[in-house]
Symmetry: C2
Subunit: 157 residues, 2 copies
């Protein structure tokens, strides 16, 4: 899994901490975590396409959360950054080789291996969908949001 997921989640968390007063630019977000600014922007654009963030162009522009944190699940962010297709991809090799002699009806039911892998991946998705940004905010250390705000305001000077 790419590092963009970690970046996206932390950025969303910071955006929630900053209380949506004004859009936060890529440079400011990158400075908050010492990340490469331009590449971070590329990843945030994926979140914009998924409808998790909204972007406002122009000077004083930037990103902000499109929904309240309670309405954004970790699954949303992961799917936006990493893609919506499943990790395990069944290529139906059971039909090749020895499978070409099988009656066609045998492939009506999905491959058992694909089913098992999909079941596991579904458990993963379910767990991710059960956690929202609001839950992360609740579990975060108490001082972190305040420190982020102070750091952000000092950044403007």
């Amino acid at each position: 899994m790419g590092e963009g997921v970690e970046w996206g989640l932390h950025c969303c968390l910071v955006l929630a901490w900053l209380d949506d007063e004004a859009p936060v630019s890529t440079g400011r977000l990158a400075a908050l975590f010492e990340l490469p600014p331009v590449y971070l922007k590329k990843r945030l654009q994926a979140l914009v396409r998924a409808g998790i963030l909204t972007s406002t162009p122009g000077v004083q522009g930037g990103f902000r959360l499109a929904r309240p944190p309670e309405k954004i699940t970790l699954m949303d962010v992961v799917a936006a950054v990493e893609g919506r297709d499943e990790a395990f991809r069944c290529t139906e090799i059971r039909r090749q080789g020895a499978g070409v002699e099988a009656p066609a009806g045998e492939f009506a039911r999905p491959c058992g291996i694909a089913t098992a892998m999909r079941r596991a991946e579904l458990a993963w998705r379910r767990e991710l969908a059960a956690q929202t940004l609001a839950d992360l905010i609740a579990d975060a250390p108490a001082g972190a949001p305040r420190r982020a705000r102070r750091f952000y305001e000092r950044l403007g000077s």
Copy 2:
């Protein structure tokens, strides 16, 4: 996730179907699914290193299951092929940027994001560990094992 997982699982299933009469060579396994033989061998070697398969060199050599199918979980195969490290890797970016001003004790507890991601991944692993090769055998179509054996024997001619 690489395609080697699908290949490895199907090969393990075939090895179980063939009843462990004799080692099955890479070429035979590749023919059973029309896969590139040499690259398939590379992936099976990973299963050997993990102790899931045993390999016997020499003519008439090949691979066989190291344990009965009830003792081989999908998690074992996936971990052997794909690696044992977690998909989400926390790089502790919370300590960078605004985090450098935080008191050291704040980082005693693990990052909430990493915890949430780990929880989801644990659910995935738990689901994979709950399914064994024997379960896949039970759910497979009845005719498939017999057809695999016939195809395999005709391959020797």
